[in-house]
């Protein structure tokens, strides 16, 4: 244990003996650059994951479930891309910690900083959503040209038949039901042909052979009893 007056002498002795190297200014500049790069990577990751959430909901048709009442809402919650949302939030939380640690942002409340980071993240994610970025990746995934992110994008067009959600082309329209077929020739096993009984009040006259449809319903004895049907446009 050092006595009080010894501290100063001991430190100076160590410095003079070369035992306490002073970090150069370049060291701190490099550290700042590295922290900045890490922040940029985190922000880009958050932008990507958040914009993928928007893209996925839009492209997969999951958003239509919100039009299908209570059952649709339950299916929406089940099929929402929570993992991507959590990943983007995790990126934003780490980014906030980084910002607080290495800038003067600690002068503001955690909530205010997080709201700022969130606003920037959502704005960036939304902007990317307006670009063909994800659509081109999806197209690459469909053509087996996206090695790492391929499975992530392929699931966007899954039918989720295990969750009672089907998408396909109308192949036949009968008096009280219609038949849809799905065959996207990808690696998953959501292909099939289903007889669909529409919900009460649905006008089967609005459907024609070749139409793309999004159907939510319960499968019973090989027949889908739909509680919601949404015709899809060509690019949906």
């Amino acid at each position: 244990m050092l006595k009080e007056p010894d501290i100063q002498k001991s430190v100076l002795d160590k410095i003079r003996a070369g035992g306490v190297p002073m970090h150069s200014r370049t060291y701190f500049i490099l550290r700042t650059v590295l922290v900045g790069l890490a922040g940029a990577v985190l922000l880009a990751g958050a932008f990507f994951a958040l914009s993928f959430v928007f893209f996925s909901i839009h492209e997969s048709g999951v958003r239509f479930l919100l039009e299908f009442g209570e059952q649709g809402l339950t299916a929406f919650i089940t099929l929402f891309p929570w993992t991507s949302l959590l990943v983007s939030l995790a990126f934003l939380v780490i980014l906030e910690l980084l910002v607080r640690q290495f800038t003067s942002a600690y002068r503001f409340s955690l909530l205010r900083i997080f709201l700022w980071v969130l606003v920037i993240g959502v704005a960036g994610g939304t902007l990317i959503g307006f670009t063909p970025f994800h659509a081109s990746l999806l197209s690459a995934a469909d053509n087996d040209r996206l090695p790492v992110l391929g499975p992530l994008y392929e699931q966007v067009h899954d039918s989720h038949i295990d969750r009672g959600v089907y998408r396909g082309n109308v192949v036949s329209v009968a008096e009280s039901y219609f038949i849809i077929s799905h065959n996207d020739t990808d690696r998953d096993s959501d292909e099939g042909v289903w007889n669909v009984v529409p919900p009460e009040g649905f006008d089967l006259g609005t459907l024609s052979v070749g139409n793309k449809v999004y159907v939510a319903g319960r499968l019973k004895h090989g027949v889908v009893y739909a509680y919601g049907i949404r015709p899809l446009s060509g690019d949906e």
Binding site: M1, L2, K3, E4, D6, I7, Q8, S10, V11, L12, K14, I15, R16, V20, P21, M22, H23, S24, R25, Y27, F28, R100, Q101, Y106, R107, F108, S109, L110, L111, R112
Partner: protein
């Protein structure tokens, strides 16, 4: 030479240290040694040796002096280093969690008035501190030490602890209440 250095401000000395002037660092150490020892003893609230930790504070300060912005006050900068090392010492000796969540930091506290303590209040608090400081949790103990004993301003404490100024006000107010409650109950 030493006499000339002793007339310089902390910030001027720090700038000299950035130019590798070891004597200037010696003068800075002589200015902060007793303050940091007092801060450490009161904050860590124990009789265990604090001298080794304060020596580490000076070594870290010397190693990182190039990161100090001489346009800003020196005092919060070195107190920040001390705070980090004291917290590490506290964690190694107790079971203090690695990350502590302080809910006061989440909300905005801009509405809180900053009320500089008068001599009378400081005198009253010194009496309370002598009797009950050890009973406070480290988070409140530290803010009391920095404000009433080290006489740092709210802004300086915010810079040392890396928390918003409003949170400093709230912590101080809660620490004062806890201290009064403890002393009145004994």
């Amino acid at each position: 030479m030493d006499q000339e250095l002793r007339q310089k401000t902390d910030e001027e000395l720090a700038r000299l240290v950035q130019g590798k002037n070891e004597t200037a660092f010696g003068v800075l150490m002589s200015r902060y040694q007793s303050k940091l020892l007092r801060y450490g003893r009161k904050f860590l609230s124990e009789t265990a040796p604090i001298e080794d930790v304060v020596q580490e504070v000076f070594i870290k300060a010397y190693q990182n002096i190039q990161s100090y912005d001489a346009a800003r006050p020196f005092s919060p900068w070195i107190y920040r280093i001390a705070h980090n090392l004291f917290v590490n010492a506290l964690r190694s000796k107790s079971r203090l969690p690695f990350i502590t969540v302080d809910l006061d930091m989440f909300a905005a506290h801009t509405a809180y008035e900053i009320d500089p303590a008068g001599d009378e209040e400081r005198e009253e608090m010194r009496g309370l501190i002598d009797r009950g400081l050890k009973e406070l949790s480290p988070i409140y103990r530290e803010v009391i030490v920095l404000y009433y004993i080290e006489q740092l301003s709210y802004q300086e404490i915010a810079d040392v602890l890396h928390i918003p100024v409003g949170t400093v006000g709230i912590r101080l107010s809660r620490a004062r209440e806890a201290l009064k409650k403890y002393v009145e109950g004994t």
